[in-house]
């Protein structure tokens, strides 16, 4: 999967599961202010990403540092590539 494909998969999964507008989903968008998620949504965000990419990220501490949608893109791309390299 290319980086762009990964980003698209992230955006469409989150848009669908959190009822977000794809047009708002720019990398600079902050998750809590711009996209309107709150701390309660963190668990579900992890569930959505795990289901979309078939990997486990719940125990990664980096997930707690995420602030913007771009952070999510980078986090998942990085995780995806590391997993790919390991496979």
């Amino acid at each position: 999967m290319t980086d762009q494909e990964i980003i698209e998969r992230i955006n469409t999964s989150l848009a669908e599961e959190f009822e977000l507008d794809l047009a708002d989903m720019v990398p600079e968008a902050t998750i809590y202010e711009d996209l309107g998620l709150d701390s309660l949504d963190t668990v579900d965000m992890v569930i959505v990403l795990e289901a979309a990419f078939k990997f486990k990220i719940r125990e990664e501490t980096a997930i707690r540092e995420i602030r913007t949608l771009g952070d999510i893109h980078n986090f998942v791309i990085d995780k995806y590539r590391r997993q790919d390299g390991a496979a």
Binding site: E16, S39, L40, V43, D44, I47, V48, R58
Partner: protein, 484 residues
């Protein structure tokens, strides 16, 4: 009539939340679908015997221990009398080809006895028990001196399973299994059970073990009297059907099954979380959250036999029996035996609980209590006969068993209005995200065994946690500490 808080569900967690909020001066109403409060705690009567269905024994009820403090804080203690379980062996484990192993009350005695039983395993035993102690000491309500912060979003979901923790300390299969028998108290297999949860369940039992005179019924009645004393309005015999919102999306009340509208500014919902999505309009919860609630797995289903011993005996007075199968079957064939109730006149009534494989009664899931097909009755009779045979083999001193009634997961489902009838509601297992107390709706809080922890202690704790979210945890803990 308008309330500050509406509590949905009149079980131990709902009764606790309602009592605490009313004690804080809130105007509280409680709605329970059954015609009486706390049906699971209450149990049932057949002939000369009262059978406990929900509550059999508990840890934490010694003077000054956590459940004792909770009951004091709730104003229940005056109405309850505790009865200590057998100090020399409150839980007795019988395994094929082995002498009975008795769990004594008190951690030191337990350690000593285990070390005697398993020479060469001393380091493993003391190391593992220290892990249990450590895990309990970080819980801000089990240990009132523990820091409040620290239980993050993912608390209990990640980390070590009970089985992994045991394997770290010992490879002795029988010792591992003995440390795992109490997973039956929350219905999750050791490979899936979060060690932190296991420790918080067994830790209190390692300190003290008590029953209540009059069993769960006494607790149900103490709660009912306390609710009346506090002027809490109780709606019985009709469930909450729908939560109502203002156009701006603020919670404003609930519609009950009979059409009654109860206006409220806040709600503590203790029903099975999978029922919640059906009670709110589309768009209130995110699709992913709705789906998560609907997909939650329950704790293990069980087959329960209520019966009477043919011979007067005191085997189950102040103690329980765990009958285990062959070691290679793990806990699959376990039968838990306890007295029908723990009053002084409990006689020789007994309750036997055996885990069922998930889905065992799915074939009849479209039937309801009172209208089951004959095949289901035949299945129950066969299960009962099998259980009776095993109990008679394992406990000859009971002189045989006469079956009074039996129950499956379907019975529990229909009786308690839960979707699947797991013994302890939603299971706590690694990898499953149980809902948190807070929801996206301001002033809609969740409580119950699946949200906090299993058993009477877990349910009462969950009521405290919900109330702590309302009035502040530091303040609530001070109230509990003042009961010391």
């Amino acid at each position: 009539m308008s309330y500050d808080w509406l509590v949905i569900g009149g079980g131990a967690s709902g009764l606790t939340a309602a009592t605490l909020l009313a004690q804080e001066g809130h105007r509280v109403a409680l709605v329970e679908k059954n015609p009486c409060l706390a049906p699971l705690l209450r149990g049932f009567r057949r002939g000369d015997f009262h059978f406990d269905t929900g509550f059999h024994y508990t840890g934490g009820l010694g003077r000054g221990e956590i459940l004792d403090l909770f009951f004091r804080c709730l104003g229940l203690s005056e109405r309850l009398r505790t009865t200590p379980f057998d100090l020399t062996g409150f839980d007795r484990v019988r395994e094929p080809g082995q002498a009975e192993f008795a769990f004594p009350v008190g951690e030191e005695r337990l350690e000593e006895r285990l070390c005697r039983e398993f020479p060469g395993q001393e380091r493993a035993i003391s190391g593992y028990l220290a892990e249990v102690r450590r895990a309990c000491a970080v819980h801000p309500y089990l240990d009132l001196e523990a820091p409040l912060a620290g239980s993050g979003t993912f608390f209990g979901l990640e980390g070590t399973s009970l089985q992994e923790m045991l394997s770290r300390w010992t490879d002795h299969p029988r010792l591992q299994r003995l440390f795992s028998v109490h997973t039956l108290l929350y219905g999750v297999p050791p490979e899936e059970a979060p060690f932190s949860l296991h420790a918080s369940v067994v830790g209190p039992y390692y300190q003290s073990v008590h029953g209540l005179v009059g069993g769960g019924l006494a607790l149900a009645e103490a709660f009912a009297a306390r609710l009346t004393e506090l002027g809490i309005d109780i709606f019985l015999g009709r469930g909450a059907q729908e939560l109502l919102f203002t156009p701006a999306g603020t919670l404003r009340g609930a519609r009950l099954e009979d059409g009654t509208i109860v206006e409220t500014r806040g709600c503590v919902a203790t029903l099975h979380p999978a029922l919640l999505p059906g009670m709110v309009p589309e768009g209130v919860f995110r699709p992913v959250y709705r789906r998560r609630l609907l997909a939650l797995e329950d704790s293990l289903p069980a087959f329960t036999l209520y019966g009477v011993c043919r011979k007067a005996n005191s085997l189950l007075h102040g103690r329980n029996i765990f009958l285990l199968g062959n070691l290679e079957n793990g806990l699959d064939d376990t039968i838990y035996l306890t007295a029908a109730d723990n009053g002084p006149a409990s006689g020789s009534g007994l309750v036997a609980i055996a885990p069922l494989p998930p889905g065992a009664t799915d074939r009849w899931k479209d039937s309801v209590t009172g209208r089951r097909p004959p095949e289901y009755e035949a299945y129950k009779a066969e299960q009962a006969a099998h259980l009776v045979r095993r109990i008679e083999e394992g406990c000859p001193e009971l002189g045989g068993i006469k079956v009074t009634a039996t129950a499956t997961a379907l019975t529990m489902r229909d009786y308690l209005h839960t979707p699947r009838g797991g013994l302890y509601g939603v299971r706590h297992r690694l990898g499953q995200y149980n809902p948190q107390r807070r929801t996206r709706v301001a002033n809609l809080l969740l409580a119950g065994q699946g949200v906090a922890a299993p058993g009477v202690l877990g349910a009462v704790l969950s009521g405290f946690l919900a109330c702590g979210d309302v009035i502040g945890h530091e303040q609530l803990r001070e109230r509990v500490k003042a009961c010391r």
